[in-house]
Amino acid sequence: MSAKKTERLLNLVICLLHTHRFLSVQEIRDAVPGYASDTEDAFRRMFERDKAELRELGIPLETGTESQAHDDELGYRIARRDYELPPISLEPDEAAALGLAARLLHSAPLGSATGTALLKLRAAGIDAPEATGALEPRVGGNEPAFEACLAAVTVKQVVRFTYRASGREPEARQVEPWGVVWWHGRWYLVGHDTGRDDTRVFRLSRIVGPVAAVGPEQAVTPPVNLDLSALVARMAGEEPRATAQVRMRAGAGWALRREATGCTPGDDGWDVLELGYSDPERFADRVTGYGADAVVLSPDEARDAVVRRLQALAS
């Protein structure tokens, strides 16, 4: 943006903030330097572009007419109460919490919005210290689909994208988006899959290509009292389907032991653990890593999966 244009837009904002009544386009042209010298057509086009730019920045341009008596041209003003950040003051401990929070998403895709938000609050007189030192958070990946999904969730707009579910060919999906969630180091989109007519959770890194917004904004109604994180944990995580019994050498396998639902110590230096699992192959992956320290006793599907892995390796 040229300095001349920035100057014109700033003067326009100041002018429209200052006025209490709606100013006609002609009055604006007379009052704001930078508009006067052009032809009527050129001025109109420039003014249209300027209005769009101000709205883009979130500046609330109000349109209306002063009287209903005659067919006045639309006028413009900026209502101060809609423009201004309401007064806010934070105690020192609250300002410190804000600084820490801003740091939390610093590297996330939301990072730049965090920075500009903080600047506005500082301009409102809040002295949020830069949190440094003891806490170094890195939250949020950079999945290409994030921005489009966030935008759709924000304006409640249906989206279409190609999705590659684990072990399947990519498929076209249409989703009424309810929310996006960062869980266990990944971004997920939660919503109603209209093709499957059911609730689905999508890992953003598995979205192939662009995310297209479809239809009008405000077209999605997320369920009330929706617990997004719990939904993702339930649908993206693993619900145990069966229980295995695993003989584990005493002192070994702490990571498995902490998940065990039961542990029966034996007198031979071995314990028997009870472990829930959903997929025998993935369960076998984990157990096989303990080598001779872990032996699956039951069920057969888990035992066989481990034996198959070991046989492949032993030959």
Binding site: A101, L104, L118, L119
Partner: protein
């Protein structure tokens, strides 16, 4: 970078900021708004010629310079910053809610108070933020103790599980900082056992105790540069070559590799360095027939004998 605004929104924030901070140093303002001093002076020059309709002497934004400080004496009606946009409100509120939900990061009651105030100031722009959630595994048993020790500069005793050796180790550490990376929390600390900086995954801390011993300063401690990823390979580490079939491709995504090469039929050859070949033996066992160790040959042989030993328990 993160705080830099485009020029018009920057000017609209700059005016109320200067109004609230009379006599502020030009250099400090430039740093805060993440622009050069030169750019800031150009911004101020521009403000100077803007103002209320009429644009007479009393209508313009007015600034007074004194030495390297600046005071804004006439804001031309721009007395408060613009409201937060939906994205800005969302970023701050989601961050604050994450802070509130993760035990041990901050005082919950303070965060809740802050959240209420920011939410009120954001007004209608706050609404979409309820549809974005960020969860961090804080390890609620461990993180509060670690944070407390950091705040008080005290030494910690850790019982720490080392998966490569499948054993729990006991050690004293002087905590340096907590890292939250990709949903996991870590403690970076000077380990007295290893006499060096080590990274501890909090979900592998079996037990933690704060000791009544002041943590020592370790000027030789070098904090890792996170921009290079969390883990650094050392040239002294063993170079391991793995053949990964489709079911094991995740290994190459998950661990930093020196090279990753497609060799046809869906197999990927990955070369990585590790100080801990016991970890690779366990990895190779869990991969079963979807992955195998190519180099070094003695490691491949160890995996074979590990598998035979494990298999004997099933044939007995």
């Amino acid at each position: 970078m993160s705080g830099s605004l485009a020029r018009l929104p920057r000017l609209l924030a700059l005016v109320p900021y200067l109004l609230k901070h009379p006599g502020v140093r030009v250099a400090d303002v430039a740093a805060l708004f993440e622009v050069t001093e030169e750019q800031l002076r150009r911004d101020l020059d521009l403000l100077w010629v803007c103002g209320l309709p009429g644009h007479g002497p009393g209508d313009l934004i007015d600034l007074e310079f004194e030495g390297d400080t600046i005071t804004l004496s006439e804001p031309a009606g721009v007395t408060a910053p613009l409201r937060l946009t939906v994205d800005e409100a969302l970023a701050l509120l989601v961050a604050l809610r994450t802070l509130a939900e993760t035990p041990g990061l901050a005082d919950r009651e303070v965060v809740d108070r802050t959240l209420a105030k920011v939410e009120a100031a954001a007004g209608a722009a706050a609404e979409p933020s309820h549809r974005v959630e960020v969860t961090v595994e804080g390890e609620e048993q461990v993180l509060p103790v670690v944070r407390q020790a950091l705040d008080a500069s005290l030494r910690l005793h850790l019982s720490y599980y080392v998966p490569g050796r499948d054993e729990t180790t006991e050690r004293d550490v002087d905590p340096l900082r907590v890292l939250l990376v990709d949903g996991r929390s870590y403690l970076e600390a000077w380990c007295l056992l290893a006499e060096g900086v080590r990274l501890f995954r909090l979900d592998r801390v079996v037990a933690v105790t704060m000791l009544d011993i002041a943590a020592e300063a370790h000027p030789e401690a070098e904090q890792r540069d996170l921009s290079q990823g969390l883990f650094r390979a050392s040239p002294d580490d063993t170079l391991v070559t793995l053949a990964l079939r489709p079911g094991a491709h995740w290994v190459a995504d998950y661990h930093p590799c020196e090279s990753v090469e497609q060799i046809g039929d869906g197999t990927v050859v990955a070369r990585l360095r590790t100080p801990d070949t016991a970890w690779v033996r366990r990895l190779a066992l869990r991969l079963g027939d979807s992955g195998s160790v190519l180099e070094p040959p003695e490691l491949a042989e160890q995996v074979r004998s590990d598998a035979r030993a494990a298999l004997s328990a099933y044939s007995a």
